[in-house]
């Protein structure tokens, strides 16, 4: 536990990306199994432990400490886990009696302990651990491992450790489970690449970059295909060896909410597509809007009535596996042809193929983009014909070109109570986008919005704010906003201009929260450069200039 605790302490205070990677690789090289695997899963957010409520910790503390002295201490430190880690006076370490305090042993004890014995176990471990390990332990059991390390960075460290490309780690990632013993054996060079045992696993999705100023100038339209960008949510459907799963683009299993789609699957493979409601192109009925789709989202289960009223279907974009065959190394053209063949055999009410948009010049495509034939289209996707399916967002193979340029995905940063009938809600929101800081990417606030959302959405936002407050400044709360933890909203606005009055250097006119993107992670939100390029591209000037 000690070396893991020291690693956490160092990571929290180390701003440089490269230094963080060095700390991580050194730890992964020296720590034994299964400790390093549990450390990896704690850092990458894949470790599931039943968490201990702050109130239980407080009670354990007050069993042995004067409440006044505890309050003085808590007021000074400000963080409950850290306060307890510091004030807890362990029993004198009796060498023979300390027992196994490795991370692996602690995680396994926590995973196997019965509800009734949790308190005793926690008390006992707090007594035996040293101060810094107590802190790491408390962070583990309160489920708040916030140390400024993204799962992407951890995977990069793994790649460096085994001198393999991070893409290979991403490819394997969702098929492996803690404590990742086979993964480390491979990275250590002791064994071959791990075989995925669970077939229908999520595979990291390929993402597009926005078309920027002059991006297309030197590209040949003949090298690309275009297809509509549909306004639903991006999903991955897998059916292999009898296991069926529907995943959101961030890898959440949403199968439970879409039994209609899962039941209709009559093929083996993994498809990338858009989840929509309404009629498929093959049934000749209209595709319905995103707000209709929302009736089906964020549910654990769904009623028959809802399924009838809001029938869901999948519009296929890409084919990752055709049966057991990995199609990802194949060029887009080849994958597309196989996808078309496969979709033709599927039930027509639940599957269709995303149509291609023929074009011969960028000018022509631009015209098509701004006047699409269907209201549920939000733009154009451009895909290089020869591009393999590579996880992550790389500039070049795929571009997205939105119909309405004036909307962005932003991350909630601050919230303030509203006025009048909204005074009991946090309803005024400040949102931000990513930009490069001295010490890696940081969020910079770019605007405020206090309308655009429905009452039901306000409930969701308000609850998020209350459960994820990081700090309070008078009526304002700052909320958790990190690459892998936070709340993404789509913000629509009427114009944008440079502004010296704002820290970000840009000001939006009339911004509103047009949609909650619970399907996205903060890391997928837009960057400040995208906003600046909107100005460069001639977005309407705001009156703030």
């Amino acid at each position: 536990m000690r070396d893991f605790a020291e690693l956490l302490d160092r990571l929290v205070l180390t701003p440089s990306r490269n230094a963080k990677i060095r700390l991580l690789t050194d730890y992964f090289r020296t720590a034994p199994d299964p400790d390093r695997g549990y450390a990896l899963s704690a850092l990458a957010g894949t470790l599931t432990l039943s968490t201990v409520k702050p109130n239980v910790l407080r009670q354990l503390m007050l069993e042995r400490m004067d409440p006044v002295l505890f309050q003085y201490s808590y007021d000074y430190v400000g963080d409950l886990a850290e306060t307890i880690s510091l004030v807890w006076e362990g029993t004198e370490p009796d060498e023979a009696d300390v027992g196994d305090l490795s991370l692996g042993s602690i995680v396994e004890q926590l995973q196997s302990v019965g509800r009734a014995n949790v308190r005793d176990l926690v008390r006992n471990l707090l007594d035996r651990l040293d101060g810094s390990s107590r802190f790491a332990f408390l962070k583990l059991i309160t489920g708040s491992m916030r140390i400024g390390v993204s799962s992407r960075l951890v995977k990069q460290a793994l790649g460096e450790m085994g001198t393999v490309d991070v893409g290979e780690i991403e490819t394997l990632w969702h098929g492996l489970l803690p404590p990742y013993v086979e993964l480390f054996a491979w990275l250590d060079g002791h064994s071959g690449r791990p075989e995925l045992t669970m077939p229908a696993v999520f595979h990291s999705v390929m993402l597009a970059t926005p078309v920027g100023d002059k991006d297309l100038e030197n590209l040949d339209p003949a090298d690309f295909v275009a297809e509509w960008k549909w306004d639903g949510i991006r999903v991955q459907l897998a059916n292999l060896s009898g296991t069926r799963r529907l995943y959101s683009r961030s890898g959440d299993d949403i199968s439970g909410a879409f039994p209609d789609i899962l039941e209709a699957v009559d093929f083996e493979g993994v498809i990338d597509g858009e989840l929509l409601v309404g009629g498929t192109l093959r049934s000749n009925q209209a595709t319905r809007s995103f707000s209709d789709l929302q009736q089906r989202l964020n549910r654990k289960a769904v009623t028959r009535k809802t399924i009838e009223e809001y029938p869901a279907f999948l519009r296929g974009y890409d084919l990752l596996f055709d049966g057991p065959r990995d199609m990802r190394p194949e060029p887009f053209d080849v994958r597309r042809e196989a996808l078309a063949k496969l979709i033709a055999t599927t039930p027509p009410l639940h599957f269709d193929l995303s149509p291609l948009v023929p074009f011969s010049s960028w000018e022509e495509l631009d015209r098509l983009r701004t006047a699409p034939p269907d209201p549920v289209i939000e733009g154009i996707m451009l895909k290089r014909r020869d591009s393999p399916y590579t996880p992550g967002r790389m500039k070049g193979p795929w571009f997205k070109w939105k119909r309405e340029p004036y909307n962005i995905d932003a991350v909630l940063m601050y919230a303030q109570r509203g006025h009048g009938k909204r005074s009991s809600y946090y309803s005024d929101f400040t949102f931000g986008v990513w930009t490069a800081g001295d010490k890696g990417d940081v969020l910079v606030p770019v605007g405020k919005a206090y309308f655009g959302f429905t009452d039901a959405e306000l409930e969701v936002l308000d609850r998020y704010v209350r459960n994820n407050t990081v700090e309070r400044f008078g009526p304002v709360r700052s909320v958790r906003a990190e690459p892998d933890q936070g709340f993404v909203v789509e913000v629509a606005f009427e114009g944008i201009a440079f502004s010296s009055r704002h820290k970000s250097g840009v000001a939006m006119r009339f911004p509103r929260i047009s949609r909650l993107r619970t399907d996205k992670l903060p890391r997928d939100a837009d960057r400040l450069e995208t906003l600046v390029s909107m100005i460069d591209a001639g977005a309407p000037v705001t009156d703030d200039a």
């Binding site: 020291e6 205070l13 230094a19 201490s73 430190v77 963080d79």
Partner: protein, 336 residues
């Protein structure tokens, strides 16, 4: 006599009327007894000064030979009479030359501990408990959160980082009197025998410690020219914390900011100061040392001064020991 009349706080500092002297006064006075050489306790411009030889020498180094009109050396453990009171000096374990001052009159004895700590320090004599009616204690780290880990573990973190980042200069912030020399000694004890580079503000005091037979090993001036920059890769450079914001610090190759201080226990503190590697080494008592000392001495009363008085007073009450805060002003609660 009632202890409140033997010693009491005034705007100039703690005053002993019967002896006509102040202890660690914060403004110039005719007669001052000084516990140790830190700037907030030892100021220049007094008439007579009574202190240990080392404290007097440190004051001379810091303020020049004319730092007071007349100085007198106090030998540890020896009883002296001043006016109607007797005084004696006893080691405090804080920095070289630091002493507690015991003041007695008519069967009442008060010990002013100044700043003190209980753990081993290779650069000064250990604290010596003196039984008394009133024990005046500092409370710099007077909160139950402060449990300073073993020094050797903390220095071990620095050595680990030197191995892990051999291309980076390791810049250690440490106060010029006491902390800097202690960190150097701890490094030497841990088997680190490379030359250690020191900022100009540390040179005189380190030379003084060397002259007292404290084996700091090879020290070199930390002055960097562009040509020498690579030589500082993987080197330990020690400077006063204030120098870290200067251009001076930026001349080193990809420096890691390190700070050796008891405050580094609280992660937010380290973060706020931009410290990447906190080294928790303190010249003050942590909570356990404070409470253990009070239990050991078992004074009739405890008076608590600079720091977090309220928690320690509360603890004394729970232990059934009479205690009150002594509101003295002018001491640095944070410097360490």
């Amino acid at each position: 006599m009632r202890p409140e009349t033997l010693l009491y706080p005034t705007p100039k500092g703690l005053f002993c009327e019967a002896g006509g002297f102040y202890i660690d006064p914060v403004h110039p006075v005719d007669k001052a007894l000084i516990t140790h050489g830190h700037a907030d306790h030892a100021r220049s411009g007094h008439g007579e000064v009574l202190a240990t030889r080392e404290t007097l020498e440190i004051m001379t180094i810091r303020y020049g030979a004319d730092f007071c009109r007349q100085s007198q050396e106090a030998a540890l453990g020896e009883t002296m009479t001043i006016g109607d009171v007797t005084v004696s000096f006893h080691p405090a374990g804080h920095v070289l030359g630091s002493a507690q001052i015991a003041v007695s009159r008519a069967g009442t004895k008060i010990v002013v501990s100044g700043d003190y700590k209980r753990r081993r320090d290779p650069t000064c004599l250990p604290f010596e408990p003196v039984s008394c009616d009133v024990f005046i204690t500092e409370a710099t780290f007077g909160l139950p959160v402060f449990h300073h880990p073993p020094d050797a573990d903390e220095v071990g973190k620095l050595l680990t980082s030197l191995r892990q980042f051999p291309e980076r200069a390791h810049l250690v912030g440490a106060y010029a009197l006491g902390k800097a020399q202690r960190v150097i000694m701890l490094l030497r004890e841990a088997g680190y025998h490379e030359p250690i580079y020191i900022h100009g503000a540390l040179v005189k005091l380190c030379d003084y410690y060397l002259s007292k037979g404290i084996a700091l090993g090879e020290l070199r001036p930390a002055t960097v020219t562009a040509k020498e920059k690579p030589a500082f890769a993987g080197a330990v450079v020690i400077g006063p914390p204030s120098a870290f914001a200067d251009k001076w610090a930026r001349r080193f190759p990809d420096p890691i900011p390190i700070f050796a201080s008891g405050w580094m226990l609280v992660r937010q503190r380290a973060k706020q100061r931009g410290v990447e590697l906190p080294i928790i080494i303190s010249d003050h008592c942590d909570w356990a040392e404070l409470t253990d000392t009070i239990r050991e001495i078992r004074p009739g009363q405890v008076w608590v001064t600079h720091g977090r008085e309220e928690a320690l007073v509360r603890w004394c009450e729970l232990e059934g020991i009479k205690a009150r805060p002594l509101h003295l002003v002018g001491y640095d609660d944070e410097g360490e």
